[in-house]
Symmetry: C2
Subunit: 501 residues, 2 copies
């Protein structure tokens, strides 16, 4: 028997690492969905210890040696293994780029800042959290500079790489600029047209939790969720967790409104289908992981925005909802539900935004966080810059910081470079859905029957089963024939909201 | 700053090990209570990998060095730390006694044997599983011999030590022989007296699961279970899992019978209170763990058998059950429920046995497994020896192997030395309960009010908070003033079943 190659040693090491991450994912889910409050301290210990063990496994000096050796022999590997090696290197570079001192300082700073933010937001008091945010920003920039050197990328792109591997802020700026240029006119036209139509009417509750859960299960199964490999539970903040072979979704129920929560469940189902469809033979290896946040968000938005808010699917949903809740009256008709699900109302809060105005919130944040990280904007200037950008993009300015730069947790939590993935995901979703419908023109009619099999089959082959084999851009080119094209997303909006052909 | 001592290094290492065990406990609970079937394979990987990492942490050569060094300096440690060191040594000795080859051979042999047993039992076909059981027995004996050498104990006592640390089969034989001598006459008297009394009547259902769960929660809270630090869920096989600060109980509900399941919940609550009451300052250290299986079983049996099947507690339970289920009629009266809960019916199956005949099943198994391990009995002779023992102890002989030596999983799963802990637990429970009532004569009357606070306070101080500081025997001497005394258990039986003073 010959010695295992360096590559084989790496696979063994990363399998162990992947298993630790799986265990942590289940414990995280349990914390949110099952754990009584008194279990929090012990759970914190468990997660901290497992996370430390994972860090030690990854930063072990032997791993650096194996990586170097395996890269020297990479010609002998097939393309999946070469991609796996590339992703191992990426994980190792991110983990070793920062000294333990900086990691710990960042942990403390974000913990403190997030705590202050939780007080400052309801109090509408940006000044209270500003010094803590400055500290987080300074340390994040320091981390970004070290990662920039380690990865050979620009400062912002090195931070972006944590969420969007091989993402490029130059490319993002390009597509975002196109959107920013076209959206104001589009939004105006949509609002004008919407004013001519009847106002949507919300069905009146109460809608018992059990009944909502039954409808949610029914729709998840229609979309393709397999309850032998996952669960739906409740938690304060809905999310998709667990592991690919056992995906744990959560939602929360509002007994006065089933309409909003239902789309939340379908959004998470999109995330869940992606996890579930990741390549089976690469479980617990980096190349078997989801590609990054923009592709992940594209899968949830494809299911929610492209498929489930389509007029076709709402035509399937409306009678089902009506019979499940025993509702009656015009507010239960598909046309009314469709109007609810495509209502456009520009406002200050990103998480409540509709599909048309959402990109404006993200473009604003991308531009501002890039300027903050690169030192072209100070925190003192932030509220003013925020108001100016929102005015230019949506024609409104926030009346206060609570509805402005205090609304999102991301920066206060040290997540710089995350925001653009939301709108990259929305554009990617539109482009993938258009390609799937080009290949299978029967898809929209099938959605009208609650049949997602053709769409899901296409996504499995072109996206899910590819894992992290390609960059997001390359994945998209292979699936749709072209790189990310913002005009496809714009065409989708024009079709849905202006009924242009 | 001076270097940490060897003892401090050991505490750090065992804290990590303890955290891994906590994570595994939560994953185990999830497997039984939450996991969909399709998650089993990934969960198996997670548990196997964490278990392997725990084994590596424990058998790391550095640990042997630290143990030696810390033992040489043990005079400098206080008594809790010395006890911790003793338990670290025990864990290390058990983990290093067996070569990896033997551990793996045992794993395979028990896995194969358990699978065959699952077929052989319903088929009543001992011959089918006998060769596999012989293999398990041979390997277990080999393991026992290695542990015997490592621990300086006899062959059987080395296996017993895995479940009952520092247990002695000579002492067990002594107390079991006393019981075996006295039980047949006692059982005869009980049956004779019972025949003079009215037959108990089971309340008729259905009893909806939600209502049963509500009553179970109410009673668990009365006993002292804190739902901020634990949960009650359902699983196929009821058990107590989780971690001391977040104890996870499970039960199963039978809609035709709430009576049986309720005592099951109270039994598990006894286990849970023990875990919850373990010394807070020694979390995730060996000395902070539960002492062993006999003390653990003593805590569940003390709550179930001593407290909750007492006439006083049934007097509290009966009206509560009646109002919860809206029942009416004489079958809901306390006297009838008490007759159900103390019904004596000698039979072939251990797990269905009543309190009076249960010890016979355990004494039989203890004698037979000791003889099998020590080579004084062959598997061919097992069915005959089983019948002979049961005849002598209970006056009945099993009509077939399904109701004889095929009924329990333990031996087929390689768990030799486990059985005696059940009856050691029952006797310990009687002795602890008697001591608690001697110290606080108001306890029985309090139980009649659903007030467990005095009893629980006594158990916290004398048992739970002692963790693994003492051996079971020493714990009992400190708590009750004397070593295990089977006549206290017998006196309890005479009081309850013969109404002797």
């Amino acid at each position: 028997m010959t010695d295992p190659t360096a590559y084989v040693r790496l696979e063994t090491r990363f399998a162990r690492l992947g298993t630790l991450h799986e265990a942590m994912a289940v414990l995280h889910w349990d914390s949110a969905a099952m754990m009584p409050s008194g279990g929090a301290e012990a759970r914190g210990e468990q997660l901290a210890q497992l996370s430390l063990m994972a860090h030690e496994l990854l930063t072990d000096p032997a791993v650096a040696d194996w990586l170097e050796q395996a890269e020297a022999e990479a010609d002998e590997l097939d393309d999946w293994r070469r991609a796996n090696l590339r992703e191992m290197r990426r994980a190792h570079t991110h983990a070793t780029a920062l000294p333990a001192r900086l990691v710990e300082a960042l942990r403390r700073a974000t913990h403190a800042c997030e705590g202050l933010w939780r007080e400052a937001r309801p109090a509408n008091d940006f000044a209270r959290v500003k010094p803590a945010l400055q500290k987080v920003l300074d340390l994040s920039r320091e981390a970004g500079e070290l990662k920039s050197a380690a990865l050979g990328k620009s400062l912002y792109d090195a931070l972006l790489d944590q969420y969007e591997p091989d993402g490029s802020s130059a490319r993002i700026a390009q597509v975002f600029d196109t959107l920013a240029r076209d959206l104001p006119e589009l939004l105006g036209a949509v609002l004008e047209r919407q004013a001519q139509q009847p106002d949507p009417v919300m069905p009146a509750g109460p809608f018992p939790v059990e009944t909502q859960a039954r409808l949610a299960h029914r729709l998840m199964e229609a979309v393709g969720f397999d309850f032998r490999h996952g669960r739906l539970d409740t938690s304060a903040h809905p999310f998709t967790g667990g592991v690919p072979d056992d995906v744990r979704l959560t939602t929360r129920y509002d007994e006065t409104d089933f309409v909003t929560g239902l789309m939340g469940v379908l959004h998470e189902t999109g995330h869940a289908l992606y996890e579930r469809g990741l390549p089976r033979q690469w479980r617990r290896q980096p190349v078997g992981d989801a590609r990054g946040m923009s592709i992940h968000e594209s899968q949830s938005l494809l299911i929610e925005m492209q498929a489930c808010r389509s007029r076709e699917f709402v035509g399937f949903l409306a009678p089902l909802a009506q019979s499940t809740f025993g509702g009656s009256g015009p507010e239960w008709e598909a046309d009314n539900l469709a109007r609810i699900y495509t209502r456009v109302e520009p406002d200050f809060i990103r998480v409540d935004a509709d599909e048309v105005s959402y990109p404006a919130h993200v473009i604003l944040r991308f531009r501002l966080e890039k300027a903050l990280i690169e030192g072209d904007l100070t925190l003192d200037e932030l509220p003013g810059a925020w108001a100016e950008q929102l005015q230019a993009l949506l024609g409104i300015a926030p009346p206060d910081d609570r509805r402005g730069c205090l609304q999102d947790i991301h920066w206060y939590d040290g997540a710089w470079g995350y925001f653009p993935t939301y709108t990259l995901g929305a554009m990617t979703a539109a482009q993938l859905f258009a390609a799937a419908c080009d290949a299978h023109p029967e898809i929209p009619a099938q959605l009208g029957q609650g049949d997602f099999s053709t769409l899901l089959g296409w996504l499995r082959r072109h996206v899910h089963e590819q894992g992290s084999r390609f960059s997001s851009e390359e994945l998209l080119v292979r699936a749709t024939g072209k790189p990310l094209d913002p005009t496809i997303f714009e065409a989708h909006l024009r079709r849905r909201y202006l009924e242009e052909a």
